[in-house]
Each structure stands twice: as C-alpha cells, then as structure tokens.
C-alpha cells in the first residue's frame, strides 16, 4: 500500500515528510484543516503499526515527532468521543444491562437498506468503504490481549482464534472478505480503497486502533468489541439476503453468512466471558466498557447516515 491522497494541509505535509523521511519537529503542533484531514493523518499514523506503506521507511514507526503528532490528534479525538458519550441508566447486572444498552441505541441501518433497496453500485461502494476494516478484521482488538487479566484474556483468545480462522486460512474472516471482494471484481489488496473512505469510516477505524493501542483504553477496546459483535448477526443475515437479491457472487454472501453464525457466539463470549469478568475484577473500567460500546454504535450510525445520505436513501 502507498500513502493515501491528502485531504487537507496537515495530511499533505505529513505525507510529504513521511515519504521523504525528513520530519520537522514543528509537525507535532501542526493543526488539521478539517475532521477529514485529521482522521486521515491519524489513520495513516496508526497504519504504520499494522502493515505500513511501501513508500515510507519502516523505521519511522516509532519516530518521536510522529508519536507527538499522534498524541495531539488522539487528545482531540478522545475529547470528541467522551463529549458524545451517553452513559447507561444501569450497569448491574452487567450482561443484561449491556445487551439492553446496545439494543436501545437507535441508528440508521445500512444492512436493512442493502437487504431491501440498494442497487449493485451502492453495494460495491459499501464494500469498498467496509474493506478498510474488514481486510484486517479483528487486528485492532488483538492489541488488547496482553493488557487483560486471565479470565477475559482466555475468552478473548478463543474469540480471536475464531476470527483468524480457527487454524484454517480459508476460514479467516479478513481472507473471506478478500475472496468476496475479488469475486466482485474489486481490488482485495489491503488498504486499496482508503481514498474512497469517508471521514466517518476513518473515524471508526481510528477509534478501534486508539482503544487497542492504549493500555488505559483496554476497557473501551473490549466494550467496543462486544457492541460490534452484538449488532452483527442479524444485520449480517440482511446483508447476505441483499447480496443474493442482487445476484452478487456467493463468495461475498458467504462472508456475511459466516458472521451470522460466528457473531451469535462472539456476542455472548464478548459480553459474558470478556467484559463481565473484566468489570468484576476491575470495576473502575465499567464506564470505559460502555464508552467503547457507545463509540462503536455512534460512529457506525454516523457512517450509515453519510452513506445513506449520499444514496438519498
């Protein structure tokens, strides 16, 4: 993957300096032009910790100037997420409260639109936008593993093992999505469609990376995971129905059908075996677990509004 196209003054400057390898210390305090500019820079800085860029020296991954800039952008993003957060009415008993909190969160559904009305071009656009995450599905949560106590850690390992294919490459979720994209004649290369992703989709990816990469956000990382899994099974079935309605390749429907079954397990594991024992052992993290869940649902609603708005749905 190459560094993406700039979306403003900050991204233009950061990307030029990344490619040249000459980083000016003043970059740490440089301001973005817009949310899109800020999220693209943050996404690019996080990406250095995953697969990186062919046109950037890998030794820059931990360059202090880039970490300083990342810290400033994370402070802005954290303030934004904390400011939007609406706490639950109750947190005890945990599992029941968590499922109710997720169920009560209202937001537009892209999956319902795909199931009933979307045309082929709209679905292809959605797949390009989703590919940003789904081609490295589960990776951001993996960062949380060494930061958890034994019970939630063991359960998260079981969940992640399933995400990564339970020992079989042909079952690995990111790979299933890549095969689905290929069957749809989309480019399955990692990060191929970053330039097509709206700022809201970049924000979704950035939230997961930020929660995963900061030990202090381990509660939010698993709360995000639990909410993500809890709103996946039924929408995945709607996605598969929509894809079949449009006569799209079975490989991409198969990706969603796998999630109907897998995420019916994962939501139970994430809520009851990961989040619940974590908050029992570290009650101070309860608020963060719900903040992670809220962030997941709220950022998806923002992406959904942008996509559906663009389709005048």
């Amino acid at each position: 993957m190459l560094v993406p196209k700039a979306r403003g003054g900050l991204s233009a400057r950061v990307f030029a300096e990344l490619r040249s390898g000459v980083l000016e210390p003043s970059l740490c305090s440089a301001e973005p032009d817009s949310d899109a500019d800020a999220h693209l820079v943050l996404w690019t800085l996080y990406e250095q910790h995953y697969r990186g860029f062919e046109d950037v020296d890998p030794r820059l991954e931990w360059h202090p100037t880039l970490i300083g800039l990342r810290g400033a952008l994370e402070e802005w993003f954290t303030d934004l997420l904390v400011g939007r957060y609406r706490p639950p009415a109750r947190t005890d008993p945990f599992a029941e409260s968590f499922f109710a909190y997720v169920e009560d969160h209202d937001g537009p559904s892209v999956a319902t639109f795909v199931q009933r009305e979307a045309d082929r071009e709209q679905v292809l656009e959605l797949l390009r936008v989703r590919s940003l995450y789904q081609l490295h599905e589960a990776d951001p949560t993996t960062w949380a593993i060494p930061r958890l106590p034994v019970r939630p850690q063991v359960a998260l390992m079981a969940l992640q093992f399933d995400e990564y294919g339970s020992g079989s490459p042909h079952r690995q979720h990111a790979h299933l999505f890549a095969r689905g994209m290929d069957a749809c004649h989309l480019d399955p290369a990692y990060g191929a469609y970053v330039d097509d992703a709206p700022a809201e989709a970049l924000a979704q990816n950035n939230a997961m990376s930020m929660f995963g990469l900061h030990r202090r956000w381990r509660g939010a990382a698993v709360g995000h995971l639990a909410a993500f899994e809890a709103v996946s099974s039924l929408p995945s079935r709607q996605m598969a129905q929509g894809l079949r309605r449009l006569g799209m390749p079975e490989e991409i429907a198969a990706y969603y059908l796998e999630h109907v079954e897998a995420d019916a397990v994962h939501e139970q594991l994430a809520v009851r075996d990961i989040c619940q024992p974590l908050v029992e052992q570290e009650p101070d993290l309860t608020e963060d677990v719900f903040l992670g869940a809220f962030t997941c649902l709220d950022l998806e609603a923002r992406t959904a509004r942008t996509l559906l708005g663009g389709w005048a749905a």
Binding site: A89, R90, A95, E96, A100, E103, R151, V154, A158, L159, F161, D162, S166, R171, S233, L234, R237, V260, E261, A262, D263, A264, V265, E267, Q268, L269, R272, D273
Partner: protein, 68 residues
Amino acid sequence: MSDQLPDIVVCPEGPILVRGDHLVQDEAGSVHRTTRPVSAVCRCGKSGIAPWCDGTHKLGPKRRKRAR
C-alpha cells in the same frame, strides 16, 4: 472464582454455549460437528441455521424486564 470454565453454558434469553469439539444432533436427527472453539446452539427454536444460533431470539417480543 473457580479456574475451571464450564463446558456448557446456558445464556439467559440466548443460546447454549458449547465449548470444545462436539457432535450436536438437531431436531430432525441430523448430526453436526462443532467447528469453533465455542459454538452457540439455538434454544429458541427459531434459528434459520439450526442447530446453531443466528441471533433470531432477539427478534421475539420483549421479555426483558427493563429497570429504568
């Protein structure tokens, strides 16, 4: 807290979680092998992918007592 996790867990208003490798017989008598570290067996009888859970139990009438 016990160090031992139960192999079978009944989830309130949800599926039965089955840990490990098992053969599960459905209502029609067909036998299905588990393929995941943990599998979810449908308990509401409405799953479209029985014997596995597909989340359909959530679509039923609200049985949950909400404390607000």
